[in-house]
């Protein structure tokens, strides 16, 4: 800054560049400390040898990945065959998270649309109401969900009371209970981005479509949906990704049979019984899966945006 005025353009752009670096520094620091470092730590840990009481021995090993994908018999000397246990858990996690996301979309989209079409001064009240349950800790909400869904819980009592069912329906400890739990945990992440994009939607477009002989359904499908697609995609990602790695809902609502990848990872770091490198490896596999899914998605998105149809 010293010779500012005299040294002219290049010095100016220099100070500009310096200022830029300083201004960007906090953002880079946050990303480095809170995103990059933990991921790198996980990566390193996944290639270390396990200590039996938890923790690691600083010795390179691919045992964790090997354990995830291959079965070498009880004593580790049989020929390697593909290990389906963990891949199965993975697959179930994707399926559960996908179902929960679909559920959240089916319920969340009309909700978001409804809020966005209320008079402007009442919308914030609706958004506020949507977020209220989320002031309560997720664990407590999931436990209360468990009580709600029990065979002799309020839901069954209610359904029996109005005569909709003859005997209690068994919901708890099923896949559906997990999906419901995940759906409930992350619903606002679906509602809010869709709400934001529907609120920005120009409703004159719907009128124009109706004016041009389009039915309500055609208007929704071919005019509204393409316009709010970014919000829908954001909502789906925001529900799907945390659902995939979730462990509270599957643990509390799914019982022992409905294990998900999040629970598997959690197990590895709990108490003294865990296997840190294995947990880290499973996390890395989960992370890569999510990244690959998102990349495929983004690429397809770019392709369909480029095409004229």
């Amino acid at each position: 800054m010293a010779g500012g005025a005299a040294s002219g353009g290049s010095a100016n752009s220099d100070t500009y560049a310096t200022a830029r670096i300083w201004l960007l520094l906090p953002a880079w620091a946050v990303l480095g400390i809170f995103v990059l470092t933990p991921v790198l730590m996980m990566l390193v840990y996944s290639f270390l040898t396990k200590e039996f009481r938890g923790g690691v021995i600083w010795e390179f090993s691919t045992a964790a990945y090997d354990q995830f994908f291959f079965n070498r018999g009880l004593f580790g000397d049989a020929p390697a065959t593909l290990e389906w246990t963990y891949i199965g858990i993975f697959w179930r996690s994707i399926w559960q998270a996908g179902a929960a996301t679909l559920l959240a979309l089916i319920i969340g989209f009309p909700t978001a649309y409804y809020i966005a079409t209320r008079p402007e001064n009442t919308r914030s009240v609706w958004v506020f109401l949507i977020t209220i349950p989320y002031w309560v800790n997720l664990l407590i909400r999931t436990v209360s969900m468990k009580f709600m869904l029990r065979d002799n819980g309020p839901l069954n009592d209610f359904l029996l009371g109005i005569g909709a069912i003859d005997s209690p329906i068994h919901i708890i400890n099923t896949n559906f209970a997990v999906q419901l739990g995940l759906f409930y945990s992350y619903l606002p992440f679906m509602v809010l981005p869709i709400y934001a994009s529907v609120e920005r939607y120009n409703f004159a477009l719907s009128e124009a479509a109706a004016d041009l002989y389009a039915s309500k359904w055609v208007t929704l499908r071919y005019i509204l949906l393409p316009a709010v697609k970014p919000g829908v995609i954001a909502g789906c990602i925001l529900v799907f990704v945390p659902s995939l790695g979730s462990f509270l809902a599957p643990d509390l609502l799914g019982g022992a049979k409905n294990f998900m990848i999040g629970s598997l990872i959690e197990e590895q770091f709990k108490g003294n019984a865990g296997n840190w490198p294995f947990g880290a490896a499973a996390s890395m596999i989960l992370l890569s899966m999510v990244l690959i899914l998102l990349l495929i998605f983004a690429r397809q998105q770019a392709k369909s945006d480029k095409g004229t149809r």
């Binding site: 004159a204 477009l205 124009a208 004016d211 041009l212 002989y213 393409p226 004229t308």
Partner: protein
């Protein structure tokens, strides 16, 4: 016209209420087939509400609207054979221009090929063929406006509704589009119902104009009729410029009224029925029908002093303060400078009214 023209849209005592607020109070008007009809009025007068009621976007609170003799009350917008050019065009942003224009044709059950062909024809009509594969955001405002027009015309509606379609364009483009719209209307023979707050737009394009204010129909007629024979103070004031003078009728003889205005000046005017001596009414006279002179032209010339001259391009506006009376505006065309004089501020002058220029209006 020997036979009665066919009525395209018949609005019968239509009322629109929003809660306690009445936006339209019993409007009745008939719009003829092949007509360029304009709903003109200031914002909030109910003209857009009426248009939206015809399109089906607003329900009719009372009364009814007939389309070629059939009630359309029960038809939702997508079943009404009318199309709209929206104020901000409302083009579908994710579709190409061709897809936009073809949309309505497709929705009417035509094949894809037919819709494409029709879209091509429409784009030719509005001279946008070379932009067929662009997205709306890649077009200028004027081009988007034409796309909106092409899209609304493509399904061959019986009636085209235009909601202030030119208001977002700049002046030059707006003027060019006026002629183009009028021409397209003549070529297609479709009934146009055009909503605007711009009186010049209304005067230049319309076969007939409905002037609206405060949810009421003020006057309905051809451009010349509305300009030269306004029904009331609102119409006289809203359409063009006018001198509105508060006068008292002194006497009426043979349909000619003599009126007294502030300062004791006297002016003659033809009197409408029902005006009698002693009435307090308004006298409207257009500024271009007043002539300035150094000496009194006749007994009805009014004496005053020039206050100011304003140059407005085609004309010069001269403000004249009548002795002890109101201020009047006189417009002298710059092309008429050979015959008419301009006087400097402070000069005493006489203001003379052309014969038949004055009109007496009740409130």
């Amino acid at each position: 016209m020997s036979h009665a023209p066919r009525i395209a849209v018949d609005v019968r005592k239509a009322v629109k209420r929003y809660g306690d607020f009445t936006a339209l109070q019993q409007i009745s008007l008939s719009i003829y087939d092949n007509e360029f009809f304009t709903l003109l009025g200031p914002s909030g007068c109910g003209k857009t509400t009426l248009l939206r009621m015809i399109a089906g976007f607003e329900e009719v609170s009372a009364g009814e609207i007939m389309l070629f003799g059939d009630s359309i009350a029960d038809l939702p917008p997508h079943k009404r054979p009318v199309n709209t050019v929206f104020q901000n065009y409302a083009l579908f942003p994710h579709m190409t221009i061709t897809q936009n224009v073809a949309f309505g044709v497709r929705m009417r059950g035509k094949s894809d090929a037919e819709a494409q062909k029709r879209a091509g024809e429409m784009l030719e009509l509005v001279q946008l063929s070379q932009f067929a594969n662009r997205k709306p955001s890649q077009l200028s405002g004027g081009q988007q406006q034409r796309v909106a027009l092409a899209r609304a015309l493509a399904p061959q509606p019986k009636v085209l509704l235009l909601d202030e379609p030119l208001s977002a364009l700049d002046l030059k483009l707006r003027q060019a589009m006026r002629f183009e719209l009028k021409q397209i209307q003549r070529e297609t023979g479709i009934t146009f119902i055009f909503v605007t707050h711009d009186q010049e737009e209304a005067l230049t394009m319309s076969d007939r104009i409905a002037v609206m204010s405060a949810g009421k129909l003020q006057q309905l007629g051809a451009a010349k009729e509305i300009y030269e024979r306004p029904n009331n103070v609102f119409v006289a004031d809203f359409i063009g410029e006018t001198n509105l003078l508060d006068v008292t009728v002194d006497n009426v003889t043979n349909g000619q009224a003599t009126c007294v205005l502030g300062g004791g000046h006297r002016l003659g005017s033809s009197a409408a029925d029902g005006i009698t001596a002693g009435d307090k009414v308004h006298l409207s006279v257009r500024p271009e029908r007043l002539i300035l002179s150094e000496t009194a032209q006749d007994a009805a010339s009014l004496q005053g002093i020039v206050r100011d001259n304003v140059y407005v391009g085609t004309d010069i506006q001269t403000l004249v303060d009548l002795a002890d009376g109101p201020r009047m505006m006189v417009r002298t065309s710059n092309s008429d400078r050979g015959n008419k004089r301009i006087f400097d501020a402070g000069t005493p002058v006489f203001v003379t009214m052309e014969a038949g220029a004055a009109r007496l209006l009740a409130d």
